[in-house]
Symmetry: C2
Subunit: 268 residues, 2 copies
Amino acid sequence: MVEQVFAPKSQYRQIADLLRERIETGFYLPDDPLPSEPELASELGVSRVTVNKAISLLRTAGLVRVRRGSGTYVRSTPRITRDARYRYANPRAAELEGRALGLSPRAECTEVSKVEASTEVAVALGIDAGDPVVVRHRRLFADDEPTRLADAYLPWDIAEDSGLLEPDGAELLESDVGSGAVYAYLAERGHGPARFDEDVTVRVASDAEARALDLEDGQPVIHITHVARDADDRPVEVALHVMPAHLWRLHYDWSALRDDEYGAENDD
Amino acid sequence: MVEQVFAPKSQYRQIADLLRERIETGFYLPDDPLPSEPELASELGVSRVTVNKAISLLRTAGLVRVRRGSGTYVRSTPRITRDARYRYANPRAAELEGRALGLSPRAECTEVSKVEASTEVAVALGIDAGDPVVVRHRRLFADDEPTRLADAYLPWDIAEDSGLLEPDGAELLESDVGSGAVYAYLAERGHGPARFDEDVTVRVASDAEARALDLEDGQPVIHITHVARDADDRPVEVALHVMPAHLWRLHYDWSALRDDEYGAENDD
């Protein structure tokens, strides 16, 4: 990718690049163990410390995982494509993301309750901090691998008006794998999402997130703040998604402004 | 974020969470040094090894950086928002991303040349691997901090037809901070982008990328594959962006399908 030479090179990062290439080209297969550190050190003509640091980097990158007492294995779960526009247009899209790769999705709804909005949630929903909101905490899996933590917040009055707190609505909240069925339910009651905003950042997992998502030390997560607005431009849901970065590919697509609009902006 | 308790907790990750909170709330200010490891160990009642591992995690997260022989400092460059739709609608948007935060953008055009398309680039451009393409390698900065590597590829015939290889076009290629002026140039010649696709993944920087972007060990980068298509749905440019993850916030927004379209998809 980068053609310049930036000397001096870091030996263990070069070893990591080489092992990564072997994984990506299938020289080491998914679920297979890597050769032991002494074997790699001997083959590559470097010290065991260098091999150990290179493998640490691959763990952080989500390419391998260590099974205690057994060795280092190539991770097998492929990246899942999350197509943003499609995902929120089709109620079953979130479920289909994993199925396209032959993985079985599963949702664990850990909590649905009434809480006071944090500052972050209040700002996104256009309400005051401390105002009541309905929160739904979930943990999503593909096969047995945790793929996402999703906390969805709805303004209290919208949840109440639309019957989401009644038995049928509450059951829907607890059973829906994605957001689609809840959005369809809101749409039937006049609060269907008309517009979506997403902010994407990458950060290191907190201690609790690392445990919930089965992450190695220092592994990054993708943090998506998803806001859905109704036709009156009122935010009807804020969802915070925390996803192991190595498991996902995010896809977005959009139409450019037309030539005449484009030209007009040029003249500003 | 996660309400469940996942015992047992990792002490150094908890210390990292605590130090991160101190940085995020301004208890430790940008460009200030952190207290020394012995001072932190004593204040927090943990071992120096634990403090050292926690600070390693903050380095990976891009929150602090080590200056050799001087200590550990809070990083000062704020996250830059990259608004995808806006960025490709206004020729000066890429330049304005950093300016909004008071940072001075600078582009270093490292190379414009004719090369053979790699498999990855060929697939994205809908041509054959080995076909000629024009590549422009750049490194972008905000103040003195490298913020992005950008490699843009254009099909040879489109570059030739549109005069991008003549002196005026070549100068534009070399001087444009973003993609806007090049897109406007293509638009005037019938190849203006009508549609954009972006795939976003997160991975550990390669050795060369880590050096070019001044990254610490194991720091993740955001990798965006950006494809621009003209009105005939022909790809006219593929750009590969590699960005230090801690420096960026990606923003996307879009309109939902209308209620009637939405209902139609429900019935599938």
